[in-house]
Symmetry: C2
Subunit: 234 residues, 2 copies
DNA sequence: CCCGCGACATGACTATGGTCAAGCGCACCA
DNA sequence: TGGTGCGCTTGACCATAGTCATGTCGCGGG
């Protein structure tokens, strides 16, 4: 991938796109561009944040290690998504660790660059708040899912997000391996297998990393139905 | 409560305290002060946000209603805590609803006030980002808890937060009713009862809204132990 | 080409927590 | 003072998901 292509992707990222046009070139030219191999660490929980990160290509996961060694996946980002905005600007310690789950390209914008620009144009702060609000929102959505849905329903929503829009049939490719999907959805790989099995009679067929949804509307019904009544239809 | 006392509490709130001194009076004088009765709604999910909210007294819960009518409590705020920062400044729809769970006093700062001040002093944007980061962080912590701990362990951590510091014995008052505690911790009231029962042999005695912790260090151990090994000690 | 490893599926068993129903105690109120 | 309602607890039962063990498939290395 050429650097020009990388810059084009960066410009199109949610974060950069919402910034005032005139500052974008300055930011991009001061960014640090780096590739990571699968499994490589971007940063560790408790480390002091010094940059905002924009994924250019590949997949990055954010996760927490519990005291007992279990890993809780908080989110998974790909091309055009950014993270670490709020923490970088306050020079605080990261609440999560970040790791490349596939080989990937990441742009790092040093927080000092952002800060000095921000002092000249307050609109930039507002843009960053918008990004941060997006993360807040997605965490709230995850919380709701964990508290109010069964595993199979969370998998259903995950699939729906992959093909969003329309309500006919649809084929999607699972973007990363099932171990990670399971973690992202708060379950063990075994449970994910069983959740897929259960989704068979909601019209979902999974083979390898390839899922076929017979009827999106039907699957959406399943995802939002009351867990208590699903068994009665079994 | 006098208005002077209310202003003093507001000045001491996490949000206001982190703002540059010289703008505080201007902000406070333009704020809207209001009391709410138990059960009263502050705002509804999907409503457009037009203010930042600071709790002066009492308790406020943020929650989401799922399509099926179940309620997922996202957070519970009290004196000195604020919410809605990021969403207000972007004039976005609230991702959650807010309701007074006790009679309470709330200060509302119209987002227009904040915005105009922010355009004059970019430091304010940074302060707000700090608050927002705090919320982000607490949501991440909740996610980790839900994904990696049993109900009883979440209750243990909840108790530990109420008496934090030290490692001897400790008595705490449960700040709101058990229905709400259960919701906040992602379980049903019945499960909360059983969780308390289970904590008896971790040295916790609960009577009414009053909990006695025999040994904080022991309880901390319990909260962080591997769920898989807890039964073997049964 | 076969071996072996790791991802994934499946089965058996268990623990955790939700649901339903019954019962208790405390507060509010006529 | 004796309802009456609600918050809370308890027990029985069951669905959901974690654990452990076993088996299969696909892929890369020797």
């Amino acid at each position: 991938m050429t650097h020009e292509r990388q810059k084009a992707i960066a410009r199109n990222s949610l974060l950069i796109r919402s910034l005032p046009e005139q500052h974008v070139d300055a930011l991009l030219s001061q960014a640090i561009w780096r590739g990571y191999g699968r499994g490589e660490t971007l940063f560790l929980q408790e480390e002091k944040a010094q940059a905002i990160h924009v994924v250019i290509d590949g997949w990055v996961k954010l996760f927490r290690m519990t005291p007992t060694g279990a890993e809780a996946v908080v989110s998974v980002f790909t091309r055009g998504e950014s993270f670490g905005e709020a923490v970088a600007l306050k020079n605080m310690p990261y609440p999560v660790s970040a790791e490349a789950v596939t080989a990937c390209e990441v742009m790092h914008i040093p927080s000092s660059v952002f800060l000095s620009l921000m002092r000249r144009d307050p609109e930039i702060g507002i843009s960053i708040l918008a990004s941060t609000f997006g993360h807040l929102h997605s965490l709230v959505a995850q919380l709701e899912q964990l508290k109010a849905q069964t595993g199979a329903q969370r998998v259903a929503e995950f699939l729906l997000n992959l093909c969003d829009g329309g309500d006919g049939t649809c084929e999607v490719r699972l973007p990363y391996d099932k171990m990670l999907i399971a973690g992202r959805l708060g379950m063990k790989p075994e449970s994910l297998s069983r959740a897929f099995a259960r989704l068979k009679d909601a019209g979902v067929t999974v083979r390898r990393n390839h899922a076929e949804i017979a009827d999106i509307a039907q699957l959406r019904d399943y995802a939002e139905s009351d867990p208590a009544e699903s068994w009665s239809k079994g």
